[in-house]
């Protein structure tokens, strides 16, 4: 690293990145003398993909504008979704699908229906979510890993005559340690990978969601290392169960954050791509270069956004999005400026789409692949992050898989507390919160624009949803529903792959609540929780 003196003999105040890298005041070729272009960087589109996965960068294809969204019941979500697509959103990301493992009529659903995502009970709801939405040519990200919700998406496509092989999207599936190696029979996370490999060649079966871990306040190096470990574990487990690692790798994606430490973030995306390529090739034996490419979706930071002076969040999110663009994201969701205090409004979501459009169409940064590559500072930071992340990754590797997950969990709790203490005592400046505070700040001011015309929550949504669920149950074929339920229970009992029978249950209009109840009746909720894929831990 460069000497941090500024030539006057004084040491200027240092900036220490989240990963503990103390930035020099400038860098020079001497700082990257060890860097070998072919080995460590390569051109964009070349192994180890430090500079990106495509030779033409964003010229061939821009990142997908994919705002995460889900509100109310299927109707409200469908309306907002079609609005966002009209306004230029190019992909879909739905939150709430299958988050609750019980029906809308269950007492546990009180105060919950339509908050924190769209509420769905049956295939009828999912079909309605996608009414007049061209799912045959728009990729769908399913937030969460609910297998029943996933199956309802597939069933919707089947009803419309769309071949499953034409569908593109992502399920936020990952692999948690469960089951006896090498078969891991009954591990539903691996069932999803296998099903997608067979039937959905364009569907990303795994999404390593280290973004949400980062949100607790861990460092960029920890985000890299934890993500790589979880990615490695998913691919290694699928491989042990007999999957072709090249095939698995081509559809394994990452879900990353974009935080405020701008230079470090750009370097992070480059470092994680390089490290993943090497893990896939050297540790897992992938021979197909495409299987070594780390592709990722970014949802910009939520934790960096503030309730105070909320318009400042527009500026923060723009910087986050720019870092992701310079880092080569394949897909992006820019967090809404009002999300620190409310369910995102239409105005704020539209602005998030516009933020991406302005970067794509006006800033010019999409013309050049990896435009910051070759900057001495960025290359030094990329190397520094790699070496720190490698140490953390090695530390996780010395633990059992269960131990590694526990360790990650402990690190996040510790980091979240430290982050808050640093904000409270002013060591970590947050404009509008611990410096440049506006005294007597009352209501946030949004200028002449009416911030929220539509309701953010309506308690009547639950009644409406219950009525729809009752109608679906009245109208479905009772014999078909019962047969599908029996078949599902039997497959689960025998630890057969679970996706196919869950798809049949979805097509027979069983609700998510009924599906989960059927499985839990076989061996209890704890067992079902361990096997994964039914999201029975959330509510």
């Amino acid at each position: 690293m460069s000497d941090s003196r500024d030539g006057t003999g004084r040491t200027p105040p240092a900036h220490v990145t989240t990963s503990g890298v103390e930035l020099g005041s400038f860098y020079s070729p001497a700082d990257v003398a060890e860097l070998d272009y072919g080995r460590d960087l390569g051109n964009p589109g070349e192994y180890p993909f430090t500079r990106g996965t495509r030779p033409s960068g964003y010229r061939g294809r821009k990142w997908t504008v994919r705002q995460v969204m889900g509100l109310g019941t299927a109707e409200e979500t469908n309306e907002r979704l079609r609005y966002l697509l009209r306004e230029g959103q190019t992909g879909i990301s739905l939150t709430g699908l299958g988050y609750a493992h019980f029906e809308s009529s269950d007492p546990r659903a009180a105060g919950l229906v339509g908050r924190g995502g769209v509420w769905v009970d049956t295939l009828d709801d999912v079909d309605l979510v996608f009414r007049e939405v061209p799912i045959e040519r728009t990729s769908i990200n399913q937030t969460g890993n609910s297998i029943p919700a996933f199956c309802m998406i597939l069933a919707t496509a089947k009803r419309r005559g769309i071949p499953l092989a034409d569908l593109s999207g992502t399920i936020q599936n990952y692999v948690l340690p469960w089951g006896e190696p090498p078969k891991y029979s009954g591990n539903h996370y691996v069932d999803v990978i296998e099903y997608c490999a067979k039937h959905l060649p364009r569907w990303n079966h795994t999404s390593i969601s280290v973004r949400n871990t980062r949100e607790s306040g861990i460092s960029a190096a920890q985000e890299i290392a934890f993500g790589l470990y979880e990615g490695w574990y998913a691919a290694a487990t699928a491989k042990e169960r007999g999957a072709d690692v090249n095939r698995v790798g081509r559809r394994l994606t990452f879900f990353l954050n974009a935080e405020s430490d701008f230079l470090e973030e750009v370097a992070k995306f480059r470092a994680v791509r390089r490290m993943w390529a090497r893990i896939m090739r050297e540790r897992l034996g992938a021979t197909d270069d495409r299987a070594c490419q780390l592709r990722f979706h970014v949802q910009t930071s939520g934790v960096a956004l503030t309730a105070q002076q909320p318009l400042n969040n527009v500026v923060r999110a723009t910087l986050h999005a720019l870092a992701a663009a310079l880092g080569g994201a394949q897909s992006m969701s820019v967090n809404a400026f009002d999300e620190a205090f409310t369910i995102p409004s239409k105005l704020a979501q539209t602005l998030s789409v516009r933020t991406q459009q302005i970067i794509q169409l006006e800033s010019g940064v999409t013309a050049v692949a990896d435009p910051l590559g070759g900057s001495w500072a960025i290359e030094v930071l990329t190397n520094e992050l790699e070496s720190r992340a490698r140490e953390i990754f090695a530390e996780l590797g010395r633990l059992s898989a269960e131990g590694a997950w526990r360790h990650i969990s402990a690190c996040t709790r510790d980091a979240a507390y430290r982050r808050q203490l640093e904000i409270d005592d002013g060591r970590r400046p947050v404009v509008g919160v611990n410096c440049f505070v506006e005294e007597d700040e009352e209501e946030p001011s949004f200028g002449p624009v009416s911030h929220r015309a539509e309701p953010d929550y309506d308690p009547a949504w639950r009644e409406k949803q219950i009525r729809r669920l009752e109608r679906v149950k009245r109208e479905r074929d009772p014999g078909g529903a019962e047969a599908a339920r029996r078949r599902l229970a039997e497959a689960y009992r025998l630890r057969e792959p679970i996706v196919e029978p869950t798809l049949e249950a979805a097509e027979a209009y069983l609700s998510i609540g009924e599906i989960v109840e059927t499985l839990a009746a076989v061996a209890g909720e704890t067992e079902l929780r361990k096997r994964g894929g039914f999201m029975i831990r959330l509510y």
């Binding site: 007492p107 546990r108 009180a110 105060g111 919950l112 908050r115 924190g116 949400n212 949100e215 607790s216 306040g217 934790v303 956004l305 503030t306 309730a307 105070q308 620190a340 205090f341 409310t342 996040t412 709790r413 979240a416 507390y417 808050q420 203490l421 409270d424 919160v433 209501e443 953010d456 929550y457 308690p459 831990r537 959330l538 509510y539």
Partner: protein
Amino acid sequence: MTRRVLLASDTRGHTAGYYVVAQALRDAGFEVIVTGQQLPREIAAATAQEDADLIALRIMDRDPVEVVTGLIAEMQAIGLDGVPLLVGGIVHRKDAARLRELGVAGVFGPGSKLSDITDCARRATAEESGGTGG
């Protein structure tokens, strides 16, 4: 005497803030009973069982007014009217105002300082009964 706080949550997941507040309360000298996700009836029962001096409730997903109204009713039903209540999480301003009307001693959203939360917890447990304030 060490004051006991029952720290409950409306849903699971997204727990970063929840554990941060748990640690802050501990560092401020409270004994913290971390229950995780509970329904209002379960929170009231746990408060009685643990003999808690304060309930701190994280609300991220459910309708805050519905949760707090339900909890107050459950507490009254078993004679716990005097136990003060703090709420933290994503609570819209209009809901926060309503919660204060319902008697919640403090409502803390993103941007709150930990010392403000622990000060409020101290004041609330120093009073004879919960009531309004904060």
